[in-house]
C-alpha cells in the first residue's frame, strides 16, 4: 500500500547523494575570513558562467526538461532536491535562471520545431541568456495594459516601446517579449510573445539602479527594432496564453527556489548570531525560532503542493501562498540580520545583511505584489467577491 512518506525514495536518495558529492567537489569557496559571503550573487559574472557550464556538463541543467530536448526528464521532486542541496552547499545558480525555468518550458510547450532546435540547447549550456520583457511603466500588476507595439511589415515585426524591471537583463542577450501585434485590440487580445535578440539595432538596455546601489534590473527600450516574424512563439495574437504558460512555470517549482534561498539566508543568520555572540540572547533566540517556523512552513507547504501537483496535474491552492509568505519571511529575516550586526567592528556580515535587507524590500513587489496575491487568494481560493 502506498503511504505518506516524507523520506527520499531509494532513487531520490541516490540522486541526492550523487549531487552532494558533485557539489562538494565543484562549488568554489567564496566566503571571507569571517565566514560572511564575500560577494553578491552576480559580482563575478565569469565565475557564474563557468559554474553554469560545469552544471550543464554534469547534467544538472534542465533536470525537468524532456530528454528529447536535452533535459533529464526527471520529476519536480528531483528539481526540489537539486534546489535544496545547492542551497546547503551555498552553490550559485545557473546563469540562465529565466531561460531554464520559464522561457525554455514555454518554447517546449508553445514554440516551433525551429525555435526548439535553436534555443533549447543554447539555454541549457548558458550560451544564450534570457530575460523577460513583460512589465511596462503603465503595465505593472495589470499586465494586460501592455503598450509596446510590434507592427507587421512584410516578414518582420517592427517593435517600439519600453519594458521595465527586466531581471537579469544586465546579463542577458535575449528577451522573451510580450508586445501588442494588433494595435486595434485591447486587454488580453492582440498580444504576441516574441523571442528577441537584444543586440538587434534599435534595442537599448539601460540598467535601473536600485536602492541597494546595484543594478540587477534593466529598462529595455525598443525603437523601431526589426524582429523576424518567425520570432513569435505560438500564434500571432496568442501572446496572452503563451505569457500565462511562462508565468505558470514560474509558479511551478519556483517556491522551491525561493525557499532554498531563504534556507541559505537562515543558515547565515545563525552563523551571524554565533559570530557576534548573540546566540545566547533570549530575545534573539525567540526571533530565530520564529524565522525557523516560517522557513519550515514554506518548505513543507512546497512539498504538500508538489504532492498535489503530481496527483492531480494542477498546482493546489497552497501554491498561491508560498510567494506571499516567503517575501514577508525574507524581509523579517534580513531585518533581524541587520539588528544582529548593528554596532561593533564592521565586518563582512554587516555589509551582507544591509544589502540583503534593502534588497528584500522588492520581494513583496516583484513577481506579483502582495496586494495582487491577496486578491488572487481572496477571490480564487476563498471565493470572496471581487474587491476594490
Amino acid at each position: 500500500m502506498r503511504r505518506m512518506d516524507l523520506r527520499d525514495s531509494a532513487e531520490e536518495a541516490a540522486f541526492r547523494s550523487g549531487l552532494r558529492d558533485w557539489l562538494t567537489r565543484s562549488v568554489p569557496v567564496t566566503a571571507g575570513a569571517d565566514g560572511a559571503p564575500a560577494r553578491g550573487r552576480w559580482d563575478d559574472v565569469d565565475a557564474v558562467r563557468s559554474f553554469s557550464a560545469a552544471l550543464h556538463e554534469a547534467g544538472y541543467a534542465g533536470l525537468t526538461w524532456p530528454v528529447e530536448y536535452g533535459g533529464r526528464g526527471l520529476s519536480p521532486v528531483h528539481q526540489a532536491i537539486y534546489l535544496e542541496e545547492s542551497a546547503r552547499a551555498e552553490a550559485g545558480e545557473h546563469i540562465g535562471v529565466i531561460g531554464l525555468g520559464m522561457v525554455g518550458p514555454t518554447v517546449i510547450a508553445c514554440g516551433s520545431p525551429a525555435q526548439r532546435a535553436w534555443y533549447l540547447p543554447r539555454i541549457l549550456t548558458g550560451e544564450i541568456i534570457f530575460c523577460q520583457g513583460f512589465s511596462e511603466p503603465e503595465a505593472g500588476s495589470d499586465l494586460s495594459a501592455v503598450r509596446t507595439l510590434a507592427r507587421r511589415d512584410g516578414d518582420t515585426l517592427v517593435v517600439t516601446g519600453r519594458k521595465v524591471w527586466s531581471s537579469y537583463a544586465h546579463l542577458a542577450d535575449h528577451c522573451l517579449l510580450l508586445a501588442r501585434t494588433d494595435p486595434g485590440a485591447t486587454r488580453h487580445r492582440g498580444l504576441s510573445c516574441l523571442l528577441v535578440d537584444l543586440r538587434t539595432p534599435g534595442v537599448t538596455v539601460r540598467p535601473i539602479r536600485q536602492m541597494t546601489g546595484e543594478a540587477e534590473f534593466a529598462e529595455i527600450e525598443f525603437d523601431e527594432a526589426r524582429v523576424p516574424l518567425d520570432a513569435v512563439v505560438g500564434d500571432v495574437g496568442d501572446g496572452w496564453r503563451v505569457a500565462m504558460t511562462t508565468l505558470a512555470h514560474e509558479r511551478g517549482t519556483f517556491g522551491f527556489t525561493l525557499t532554498a534561498r531563504l534556507e541559505v539566508a537562515f543558515r547565515r543568520l545563525v552563523a551571524t548570531a554565533r559570530a557576534r555572540g548573540r546566540d545566547t540572547d533570549p530575545l534573539v533566540r525567540d526571533q530565530i525560532a520564529a524565522r525557523y517556523v516560517e522557513l519550515e512552513g514554506l518548505r513543507w507547504t512546497n512539498r504538500r503542493a508538489l504532492a498535489e501537483l503530481r496527483r492531480t496535474g494542477t498546482p493546489g491552492p497552497e501554491t498561491s501562498v508560498v510567494k506571499l509568505r516567503w517575501s514577508q519571511a525574507h524581509q523579517r529575516l534580513t531585518a533581524l540580520g541587520v539588528r544582529l550586526t548593528a554596532g561593533g567592528r564592521p565586518d563582512g556580515w554587516d555589509r551582507y545583511w544591509r544589502r540583503e535587507m534593502l534588497r528584500s524590500r522588492a520581494n513583496t513587489i516583484e513577481g506579483g505584489t502582495s496586494e495582487v496575491l491577496r486578491n488572487v487568494i481572496a477571490e480564487r481560493v476563498l471565493g470572496l467577491p471581487r474587491s476594490y
Binding site: 500500500m1 502506498r2 503511504r3 505518506m4 512518506d5 516524507l6 523520506r7 527520499d8 525514495s9 531520490e12 521532486v77 546547503r88 534556507e263 537562515f266 543558515r267 545563525v270 548570531a273 554565533r274 546566540d279 533570549p282 533566540r285 525567540d286 530565530i288 525560532a289 520564529a290 525557523y292 517556523v293 516560517e294 522557513l295 519550515e296 512552513g297 514554506l298 518548505r299 513543507w300 507547504t301 512539498r303 504538500r304 508538489l306 504532492a307 498535489e308 503530481r310 491552492p317 497552497e318 501562498v321 506571499l324 509568505r325 496586494e371 496575491l373 491577496r374 486578491n375 487568494i377 481572496a378 481560493v381 476563498l382 471565493g383 470572496l384 467577491p385 471581487r386 474587491s387 476594490y388
Partner: protein
Amino acid sequence: MDFALTGEQEALRDTAAKYLADERAHADADRAWTDVTGLGWLDPELGTVELALLAEQLGHARSPSPWWATVGLAGPALRAGGRTLRRPATLAWAEESGPGTLAALLPPARSDGDVSCTVAADGTLDGRKVAVPHAGEAVDLVVAVAGPDGVELRLVDASALHPAPSDAGPAALDPTRPAATVDLSGAASTPLVAAHASGDVLAMTRRRTLTLLAAEAVGVATRALAWATGYATARTQFGRPIGANQAVAHPLAELYGQVETARSLAYRAAWSVDAEPGPVADRAVATAAVAGREAATTACEAAIQTYGGSGFTWEQPLHHWYRRAWWLATFDGTVSDLRAELAALLLDGTTGQDAPGR
C-alpha cells in the same frame, strides 16, 4: 518523497467530518464515547498521521471528547504497559510545587526529587496532582510517581477518586477542556512503565500530544476562517458584501496562508513522530505546535473582527472556538516556551549542527 494522504487516510478524515457534523456527536458524552470506539478511533493500527487527521476534525467541530487525552496523554503509557485503549483515559503529571509541564518530566530536565507523589511497595499512592485534563471523565488514570528507582508510570482506576474541578463556568478558558486536582492518597495502583523506560515513553507522550493539539488547532483555525469567509460574503453594508472591501478580504487571504502552512507542519510533525529519531521529531513537533497555536488564535480573532458587533456576543459560537484556541495556546507551556525549546534545538549542542534540515 510523497506528501499526499492515502485514500484510506482521506476516508478516515471524511468519515470523521461527517460524523462530527451531526448533533449526535455532541449530545451525550457516554453515547459519544461509544461512537468513538465504534468508529475505530482508538485502534492500535492508527499511526500519528491518522490520529492527527482525526484531531484536526475534532478541533474543527470543537468536540468536547476526552479522546485526545486518551490517545495522546495516556495512550503511549497504556500501550507500553500492554493495555488496550477502551475507556476514557488521561495522564496526571503536574504537581503544585513539582513539575509543571511535560517537558519538566523529561530527562535531563527532570531531577530526582522533582516528583513528590510516591508509591509504596504494595502499590498504594500518596500525593496530589494538579491540572489533570478530563479527570472527571477518565476511567483509566495514568500517573507519574516517584518509585524506588525513579519516576515510573502507574495505572489508577479513576472512578474511585473524587477530582476537584479547578475551573468551571464562563470564567473557564474552555469548559470543554476541564482540569481538576486529584488527591491520590491511599489510591491503589498497578505498574505500567518502569522507571528505566519512563523517559522514552513520556517523550513520546509529549510529542504525540503536542502534535495532535497542533492538528486540532489547525482544525479550529480552518473553521474560524470558513466562518469569516462566509460572513464576509453574506453580510452587506454600503450596498455590497463587506468582503468586497480589501480591508476585510486581505486579512483573510493572509490568514489562509497562515493556516495552510500550519497544516503542512502539523502533518509533517505527525509523520516525523513515528518515523524520525527523537531530536528531529522534537524539532518538527515544536515547529508545528508554534504554527498551529498561532494560526488558531489569529484565525478566531480575525473571524470575530469580521463579524463585527455580533462576533462579540455570547450567542455567536465564535467565542467557544476562541476559548479553545486560547486553551490550545497555553496548554503545557506557551508559544514562547515552544520557541525557546526550538531555539535550544537549533542553536545548542550537536543537534543544531544540521539545522534546518531533515
